[in-house]
């Protein structure tokens, strides 16, 4: 973990409030694991005050790092308007990351909305290990405008299945509907490989994925979000209720948790359909 200055070298708008921030000067992030994140702050004075947690989308040679961001408030809006050359301060890599891909495991990567980055990086890392074709990505959001980087995902060599709540692209419905369908498929196919689920997205989606995994007794990892101030385990702000201790910290013990660790305190299944997609 390092604290350093980086520069925006490219800021690519993807429409719908999504953009990819490409940073240079991030040599310290080399070797980061999928699921890890950074605390990022632009040169924007006192408001907003705290740095913002953002997952790594991709880390390449020569100190290049990509982030996928969605505008939801002040900080992300300022980032969207950062031109190439802007200075940002970066603290990272932070957190633990997803388990590494393995040849005897088929990973189902479930992304909801702007929860894509850690799973994109996981797929990229599977590709590098020559294991992308053994896994698949299920990616859901509210509308087709919220499904981004589709070409880039396909280029990683991973099978991609989409879901939108309005049916504008892929399956009409929630990404968890697609997950259930795929689990049926995998079980029918009686593959010799063990199934494993990794998910990142809105909290309602994570609980739904966790419940599905529990009901099928499948190993499952959820990447959680909480409000953060420090990102390094000192403010104790990012607590989540856990099974093995009263609280765990998203920035230090997570953001990736075994589902069983955090599911014990998930609310009971609700009938609300509204929060299955993008944030």
């Amino acid at each position: 973990m390092r604290y350093f200055d980086a520069r925006v070298i490219e800021n690519r708008s993807l429409g719908g409030g999504y953009f990819v921030l490409r940073l240079g000067g991030c040599e310290s992030l080399t070797g980061s694991r999928p699921g890890q994140f950074v605390m990022l702050r632009g040169d924007w004075g006192r408001d907003p005050l705290l740095p913002r947690p953002l997952s790594l989308l991709s880390v390449a040679h020569e100190g290049r790092a990509d982030l996928l961001v969605k505008v939801v408030g002040k900080g992300t809006a300022l980032m969207e308007r950062s031109p190439p050359g802007s200075r940002v301060s970066v603290l990272g890599p932070l957190g633990n990351g997803f388990p590494v891909p393995s040849a005897d495991v088929a990973d189902l990567l479930v992304a909801g909305g702007v929860g894509l980055p850690p799973l994109f990086m996981q797929a990229e890392s599977a590709g590098r290990l020559g294991m992308a074709n053994g896994s698949e990505m299920l990616y859901g959001a509210r509308t087709s405008r919220d499904l981004v980087l589709l070409g880039e995902i396909r280029a990683l060599g991973i099978a991609l299945r989409l879901a939108t709540e309005d049916g504008s692209l892929g399956r009409r419905g929630r990404v968890t509907d697609e997950l259930e369908a795929r689990l049926d498929h995998w079980r029918a196919a009686a593959s010799p490989r063990r199934l494993r689920i990794m998910a990142c997205g809105p909290r309602e989606m994570l609980w739904a994925v966790g419940r599905i995994a529990q009901s099928c007794d499948i190993e499952c990892y959820l990447s959680m979000e909480e409000q953060m101030a420090c990102g390094i385990g000192v403010c104790l702000g990012c607590a989540v209720a856990a099974r093995t201790r009263p609280y765990l910290y998203v920035c230090k013990h997570g953001p990736v948790f075994p589902a069983a660790e955090v599911m014990a305190y998930a609310p009971a299944a609700s009938t609300s359909q509204s929060e299955g997609g993008a944030q």
């Binding site: 390092r2 604290y3 408001d47 005050l49 420090c230 390094i232 104790l236 607590a239």
Partner: protein, 317 residues
């Protein structure tokens, strides 16, 4: 030939300061709850460059803290309701202190209890530990035997508590005052009268924030402690009020310090040293930068000893 200005620039201004029985290499400390147990920042700045650090508040037994969400950002600040979660005295001594002993800066341990006896017990045990340079009592903790009113709000209760702790703590004992009072001066006087070595001013200010969409408070406990630049004018005012009343113990100024100039404002208002809190989240290397900025200011202003600044406010009165 060098001009007199050049000579002055070559001589580094003296930054060392003494506060509440402890000598510091410079007046910049880091505040409790915002700097963990020091170790977490070791890779991010030079701990040796700091005057000192104050640990997360320690209680006799480990504490679990409050349900989430525990923090939220507000205009130029943040609210927190961590619930004084900490590892407890024993684990602190076993797991955190070995690093602190060799970290190269002064170590103050912030502590609290939920009863009189807990305060005394905790203070005595911490003061006995090698590697602890001094203690800072957090008196913004609810007294569970007296309806949950904070110990630090009533000068009489506070005075008794300070006296009881003073009797068992043979190391420098500072008291960190709550700003949630209409009379900060009486609280400071109660500390001085009962043997405290210094007062730290201020802890967080009670506040709240609401999510209008869900109509819920943004933090689970409804109220939380406000910190950050938003509170600096209030903190400065309180430091100066205590200084003006000539309370005979020194002051450590805390509240919204972001840079060297902010720190110098506190020194001018009457603080002998300062603590940097929330700013360590904004920029984890800021405490070290603030030391440099104070030095630069002294050079630029021809101040040869930072002590010249303490209480040097000119009010024209």
């Amino acid at each position: 030939m060098t001009s007199s200005l050049d000579t002055r620039e070559e001589e580094a201004p003296a930054l060392h300061t003494t506060c509440g029985g402890i000598e510091f290499r410079n007046p910049v400390l880091t505040a409790s709850g915002t700097f963990g147990y020091g170790e977490e920042f070791d890779a991010l700045l030079s701990l040796r460059s700091l005057g000192g650090l104050v640990t997360k508040g320690i209680s006799p037994q480990p504490r679990l803290g409050n349900p989430p969400p525990r923090i939220c950002e507000t205009a130029a600040g943040m609210l927190n309701s961590i619930g004084l979660e900490n590892v407890g005295v024993e684990a602190f001594a076993r797991e955190k202190l070995p690093f602190l002993r060799s970290c190269g800066t002064r170590v103050l341990v912030n502590f609290f209890g939920t009863t009189f006896d807990e305060y005394v017990d905790c203070g005595a045990r911490l003061a006995a530990l090698d590697g602890v340079d001094g203690l800072e009592m957090n008196v913004s903790c609810p007294n569970i035997k007296q309806g949950g009113i904070e110990f630090g709000r009533d000068p009489t209760v506070l005075g008794d508590l300070v006296k009881a702790c003073r009797a068992v703590v043979r190391k420098p004992l500072w008291v960190k005052l709550t700003p949630n009072t209409s009379d900060i001066v009486s609280l400071a006087r109660a500390c001085a009268d009962n043997g405290a070595d210094a007062v730290s001013i201020i802890n967080t200010i009670t506040g709240m924030a609401i999510d209008v969409r869900t109509r819920r408070p943004k933090i689970a406990t409804v109220f939380g402690g406000l910190s950050g630049p938003a509170i600096k004018p209030i903190a400065l005012r309180m430091v100066h009020q205590v200084r003006r009343e000539k309370i005979p113990i020194p002051i450590c100024g805390i509240g919204g310090i972001q840079d060297g100039i902010d720190a110098i404002e506190f020194l001018l208002a009457g603080a002998s040293c300062v603590q940097v809190g929330t700013q360590s989240f904004v920029d984890p290397a800021s405490a070290e930068r603030i030391v440099r900025e104070i030095e630069e200011h002294c050079r630029a202003q021809g101040v040869s000893d930072v002590g010249e600044l303490i209480g040097a406010l000119e009010t024209g009165k």
